[in-house]
Symmetry: C2
Subunit: 77 residues, 2 copies
């Protein structure tokens, strides 16, 4: 578990919750196993770029926009 994965996962969770989506709903939208999505959100796994792209799609973001959410949160840390 890395600080990077934890912060990236937290950014995904915040965006999902801001959209009012359950983990089940986002997992279905993104075509990702719900258990795996939970691990990604906790930063327990190092998500692959391809899955990250699918999750960004499910969150109605470009992948660069999802990454920017993480970067904005990490600024100054």
């Amino acid at each position: 578990m890395s600080a990077f994965s934890v912060k990236l996962g937290a950014a995904i969770r915040r965006r999902r919750q801001a959209l009012g989506l359950s983990q089940e709903a986002l997992a279905a939208l993104a075509g990702v196993n719900r258990t795996y999505l939970g691990e990604i959100e906790r930063g327990a796994v190092d998500v692959s770029a391809l899955y990250l792209q699918r999750i960004a799609d499910g969150l109605d973001l470009k992948l660069s926009e999802l990454i920017r959410l993480y970067e904005e949160d990490s600024r100054g840390n």
Copy 2:
């Protein structure tokens, strides 16, 4: 091998070449095995977000900037 991985790898290669870096040099900067970097650039592997972050660092880009290079290249495809 996915179209996503191929285009992302091509964006990494273009940026590396624009900086005048060899694969060996970028691999050393990013702390990534050179053979693995070659596979990433060819799109033969689905790179993890953590490795992608290291490669962006080696290319002197924020991760979101590296992803934007890929997205700009893919526009309209």
